[in-house]
Symmetry: C2
Subunit: 273 residues, 2 copies
Amino acid sequence: MHHCYLNGEVKPITESFIHISDLGLLRGYGLFDYFRTYNGKPFQWELYWKRFDNSAQKMGIENPIAKETAYEIVTQLIQKSGLKECAIRFVLTGGYSPDGMSTSKPNLLMISEDIHHVDALSYQSGMKVMTYEFVRDIPEVKSTDYKHLLILQPTIKKAGVSDVLFHKNGEVSELSRSNVFHFKNNVLVTPNENILNGITRQTVLELALGKFKIEERPVSLAEFLNADEVFTTSSTKRILHISKIDDKVIGNGKIGKNTKVLQDQINSMTQNW
Amino acid sequence: MHHCYLNGEVKPITESFIHISDLGLLRGYGLFDYFRTYNGKPFQWELYWKRFDNSAQKMGIENPIAKETAYEIVTQLIQKSGLKECAIRFVLTGGYSPDGMSTSKPNLLMISEDIHHVDALSYQSGMKVMTYEFVRDIPEVKSTDYKHLLILQPTIKKAGVSDVLFHKNGEVSELSRSNVFHFKNNVLVTPNENILNGITRQTVLELALGKFKIEERPVSLAEFLNADEVFTTSSTKRILHISKIDDKVIGNGKIGKNTKVLQDQINSMTQNW
């Protein structure tokens, strides 16, 4: 059964409540992180922890827990889940506020969750996305601010796509919850501005090192539309190719050969984690 | 004692908790509204209700309650507070999510709170603000997204001011939680873009009708800096003059004569509510 740690106590998820004066709830003053296990072990724990800690600093919320303690609780949550593999969500907020504005002791939640696996069919057919002009506020921080995406859900559904590709002033940044790459003439290109520093993005860049020429730089929407291969990276998707952006089919709609090389590599890495 | 209504139940504030799967907490998918009583009666209830309902529509969250029922609960909360005057906060979120993304039945909270009165001294000395280049995401909606303001708190404190004046691309929009007006040559001017439709703003515009020439239009920062009088409007402040923007003293730093006319009017209106 899934459990939730909140400020020192671990309870079954069904019994986990937070007081309504929490600033994450009242003022959107919260950040999170999310990672999963492979072979029962948290994948890239060091990197996720570092990012979480960094988000906390940038949001001005003190991270109230030491890395080692956090890891112990994570281990406990994984064990208690009774699952072979699970996901862990950290949520850190500005704490309970006496007046709906002043901050106090931060609230830290750690929650075990089911992994939302991408089905085999999606890996075959790839992902269709629609472009949307938007940049997240403070994109380098993994804040809880997803209101824009949630407002867009009916539009996304109606368009028959599964996500939005954010671009602004001609430059592509990321998908709503994942990073984006393309291959053109065997060069691997990915935006480096207005993005979340994805751990899978970082992992893929390391795997690509020495195999492909890599360019991390501002990338236009036109470049993505004219790319040979486009793919997205995230903790749950690992590497998933993008088959269509708006009306434009990418390549022949199937996973490209270079993307396949990287996908095989990361799948092998996670299988052997 | 203050109480909280949550999805049909009214409980003392100390016993009011929300499940941690709430999308307001996890994804910042929430909106709110906030009003106060005068003479024990909700001020401008009709206008606040309309705005709340409008925010809900624009955020794609179904308002789960009828106006009349909401008013009954508000009346109950005011009575239970035992206070002569109190404030009421509505919070509406995307509801408990089974997977941290999909929406379900919205969660509606109504909370009674103490009013945070502006002290007499502030009405004498006015408010000092610092300029900050920013526009809120979906500014016409009263979403719970105040992360930017909360991140800025240490900077605001250090600058010795009490709020930020948002401007972007040369245009002023609003303060972090209130609207802004200026007088120049006895003409009342206020921005009409990228703002929240403040109920006090609307009330003041109605009070000014026939007394002053009014211009609702895009307003530059330079205009504010060179204005004869500047003031802000909000539910808790009513009308409060702004004495200083960054290093620029407005007028002689005291409340301007036209601002005083409007301030007397709204104070008289609320006293007789």
